[in-house]
């Protein structure tokens, strides 16, 4: 009844169930978190409907926990090629740059959050040198 084996077994089982419960609670806690800052949603949603969804990542950065997340970048070059598979970029009047971030928690949901604010510009219709 109270042998070493049975005690070890119950300690192990109890530890495991406590860990599982805590992990599950952590998981649940990430579901309803709103990671957006501010609530200027009206100006953020400049989505043009019925257009094909195009997306190219130009730059990325990994920020680990505890690192400085307050970025102030100037004169950045693109990290990846700004290429379209086709010819949709030349003369395109509606190229929008946005910033979004993917948060990896200890345990839980993996949200992709769009930062507020964007920059729209147009490409020239002729190649320049």
């Amino acid at each position: 009844m109270h042998s070493l084996l049975s005690r070890g077994n119950s300690v192990l089982a109890y530890t495991l169930s406590v860990l599982v419960t805590l992990t599950f609670a952590c998981f649940l806690s990430t579901i309803l978190v709103d990671y957006r800052t501010g609530t200027e949603m009206k100006t953020l949603k400049i989505e043009v409907k019925n257009l094909p969804e195009y997306g190219v990542i130009l730059w990325d950065k990994i920020i680990l926990r505890g690192e400085n997340a307050n970025l102030r970048l100037k004169n950045m070059r693109t990290k990846y090629y700004f290429w379209d598979d086709g010819n949709g970029l030349r003369g395109n009047k509606n190229v929008t740059l946005t910033l979004s971030y993917n948060i990896i928690p200890n345990v839980g949901r993996l949200p992709i959050v769009g930062a507020i604010g964007s920059h729209t510009f147009s490409f020239p219709s002729e190649y320049t040198r």
């Binding site: 992990t23 998981f27 094909p52 969804e53 195009y54 997306g55 190219v56 990542i57 990994i62 680990l64 990846y80 290429w83 379209d84 598979d85 086709g86 979004s100 993917n102 990896i104 928690p105 200890n106 345990v107 839980g108 949901r109 993996l110 992709i112």
Partner: protein, 178 residues
Amino acid sequence: MFDGFLDDLKRMNKRQFLYQVLSFGMIVSSALMIWKGLMVFTGSESPIVVVLSGSMEPAFHRGDLLFLTNYEEEPVRVGEIVVFKIEGRDIPIVHRVLKLHEKNNGTIKFLTKGDNNSVDDRGLYAPGQQWLEKSDMVGRARGFLPYVGMVTILMNEYPKVKFAVLACLGLYVLVHRE
């Protein structure tokens, strides 16, 4: 009288044994039901995957567990982490979508890259393959649970461990009496 007692015990054991076999079957079939049910609810052929490489570090390490969904109506977006299969490789790959192009008829093609890799995945794809399509996708990562998949990695790398664990569990379920 003693004989009768032994006989009784024997018969009890037989029934008990059958009962244990049945409950063992219950465990196996409910595990299967949960897995298949998850497949239905998430739309993915493999709703839970274990990360097998370090190509997504520091986000995912070897042995982390990912929950996937693969709903038709949700479009793939750039920056999302997708799990895909390549022809000729049986292990699914977990990487981030780097470029995505959608045609007017709704078909998409995308290029992926591991966070920890310096180049994109064209070298990993099948020879001559430039883009991934929706049919290559197993799902997109929606939930994250660290370390838990280490168990399956251990079992796959050391098959003896797997058989030992399975034998112990089976024996325990069959022999153990409430």
